[in-house]
């Protein structure tokens, strides 16, 4: 930890600071339960801009710590308060940071078991990191990206939706944005730049493929305002179940029509309850 700030909050303690990953400082916050916990939840955040998800992580980590487990939230390189440039980033870097974060969090907390919480794109990162960390006990997937290419193309589509919401004609199609990325090495998306280097490093990442060896308990939380599990999430659940994985899938619809990411308390409690049940 390069610099650390600790705050005691009732039954748990929060410690925020920076740790080293691949020679650069990354921001992290460890939430320590009052009693030393054997298990720590490591939150792998989504790619680039994730303002509402970032708040959801902080809230969820605190709820999990209140419930007697430790938790760790961190910003990978080129994200949030950490060092690093998006221009240099590769998918492998994100996995390295997740592994370094888990190693660090385990040393700070004394926990022996890791439960990964992968959020959107972070699900892909967690699914790859899990293979490199002994002691991975469980995997929670919050609105998981099923593959990186689709996720990034969807980010391009959001530019079109945004332009339409302003009453403008979309300036480019997804195909044209992809061509520009290929040609110029960078495209500007909503709130972040996507670089060809990252796109090419990540585009083959696939959640089910990465989870081929995984047989641990798995929790899928769908953050959508639908009353049923989406087709994609159903397929994910069925495929994992078919491999012998114990899967629990839950819906997080938000309350009163609000964006479910802004009201993460209930899903955090459910994730904590699932953590309690892990043998």
């Amino acid at each position: 930890m390069l610099s650390r700030e600790a705050t005691k909050k009732g039954d748990w303690t929060e410690e925020r600071g920076f740790f080293e990953s691949d020679g650069r400082p990354l921001y992290g916050a460890v939430y320590l339960a009052r009693q030393p916990a054997t298990r720590i939840a490591i939150f792998c955040n989504s790619f680039s801009e994730n303002h509402c998800e970032g708040r959801a992580e902080a809230i969820a980590a605190r709820i999990i710590a209140e419930n007697g487990h430790s938790a760790f939230v961190y910003h990978p390189r080129a994200h949030g308060d950490s060092a690093g440039d998006l221009e240099d980033l590769t998918f492998e870097n994100l996995i390295d940071d997740a592994v370094n974060a888990a190693t660090y969090a385990r040393s700070r907390s004394g926990a022996s078991e890791i439960v990964w919480v992968g959020i959107r794109f972070g699900a892909l990162v967690a699914a790859h990191a899990i293979r490199r960390m002994d002691g991975s006990k469980g995997l929670a997937l919050w609105e998981p990206a099923l593959n990186a290419r689709d996720y990034l193309l969807k980010s391009m589509r959001h530019v079109i939706y945004y332009e339409m919401s302003l009453g403008e004609r979309p300036s480019m199609t997804v195909e044209q944005i992809s061509e520009r990325l290929e040609r110029e090495g960078r495209v500007s998306l909503l709130g972040f730049d996507l670089y060809r280097r990252f796109f090419e490093s990540a585009e083959k990442a696939d959640l089910l493929e990465a989870l081929q060896p995984w047989r641990g308990p798995t929790f899928i939380a769908q953050f959508q305002q639908h009353s049923r599990l989406s087709r994609a999430h159903s397929q994910l659940r069925e495929t994992l179940t078919g491999r012998g994985v114990n899967v629990r899938a839950v819906l997080h619809c938000g309350s009163d029509g609000t964006d479910p990411w802004w009201t993460p308390e209930e899903i955090a409690r459910q994730t904590g309850g699932w953590l309690d049940e892990l043998a």
């Binding site: 390069l2 610099s3 650390r4 700030e5 705050t7 925020r16 600071g17 920076f18 650069r24 400082p25 921001y27 916050a29 801009e49 303002h51 970032g54 708040r55 902080a58 080129a78 994200h79 949030g80 308060d81 950490s82 060092a83 690093g84 440039d85 221009e87 945004y162 302003l166 009453g167 500007s188 909503l190 709130g191 972040f192 730049d193 802004w262």
Partner: protein, 283 residues
């Protein structure tokens, strides 16, 4: 502007300290970036209130490190209900800016880090929030960068989404409403007057094609003519072509904030000129 991380920025990242301080609605979380020890000291602390503190494209993170590398202290923090900070998340309200959070940040930086002079910078609602703190801490603030906040008590004509959804009768009522004298927000006017009475400089930045430009035009017509000579000198206005109140616009706004804040460094030409120019004297 090149936003690539330089060795100086990386060095400031290594020196950063997470901080927590008490706001009106609970703990507020931020990151303090100390000034580079080998840079000529600016003797002023830049405060970036944020939703969240990183800003879009992490521009506030990078701005804090760039400025700290040049001798400024910097604090970026999550306003209540955002990022790590306590409080209920709420839609930004033009009648409820969060100046008290900025005041809490100023108090904390004064007490815990010995900072005495502050520069505030905000974009959109965060700019209104920065301005709002003048009600309480005008004497401590050397300057405020105010990019494209709301000015009027009511958005002229309502939002475009609402406009589309309204019927003809409702539109007619709205036109009648629009014909009324536009009312300047109390939350804009009151701190604006405090700013005018203070010794602080300010830069108000808007863009011609943003709908907020129309709101600011009212402030230019009503409030700015009331300024005395000294305040007119201190309160600058820039109206850019195009739009800045967009997701893409924030980058150029933060670039301008950085260049404006640099003028407060004792080594800058502008600062030297201000030091020679007694407050209240016409140039």
């Amino acid at each position: 502007m090149n936003w690539r991380e330089t060795p100086a920025m990386l060095s400031r990242a290594r020196a950063e300290q997470p901080v927590v301080f008490t706001g009106m609605k609970g703990a507020l979380y931020g990151i303090f970036t100390p000034p580079a020890p080998d840079a000529p000291p600016a003797r002023v602390c830049v405060v970036f209130p944020g939703r969240p503190r990183s800003g879009l494209r992490r521009r506030m993170v990078l701005a804090a490190r760039i400025l700290a590398g040049e001798g400024f202290a910097a604090l970026r923090f999550d306003l209540r209900g955002r990022g790590e900070s306590a409080g209920e998340v709420a839609r930004p309200s033009r009648i409820e800016p969060l100046g008290e959070d900025v005041v809490a940040a100023i108090h904390y930086m004064r007490e815990a880090h010995g900072q005495t002079r502050f520069l505030l910078a905000g974009y959109c609602y965060d700019a209104l929030t920065a301005l709002d703190s003048f009600k309480y801490e005008a004497d401590a603030v050397a300057g405020v960068f105010v990019a494209t906040p709301t000015v009027l008590a009511e958005k002229p004509g309502g939002s475009s989404g609402k406009r589309r959804a309204r019927g003809a009768a409702s539109r007619l009522r709205s036109m009648v409403r629009r014909a009324r004298e536009p009312k300047i927000l109390r939350t804009f006017e009151s701190p604006f007057r405090e700013l005018a009475r203070s010794r602080a400089r300010a830069l108000f930045l808007y863009a011609e094609e943003d709908w907020l430009r129309d709101e600011f035009r009212v402030a230019q017509e009503v409030l700015f003519p009331q300024l005395d000579g000294d305040a007119r000198e201190r309160l600058e206005v820039e109206i850019w072509p195009g739009r800045i109140h967009t997701i893409e616009g924030q980058t150029v706004v933060v670039e301008r904030a950085i260049s404006w804040i640099r003028e407060f460094h004792p080594r800058s030409g502008r600062h030297a000129r201000d030091e020679l120019q007694p407050i209240g004297q016409e140039p």
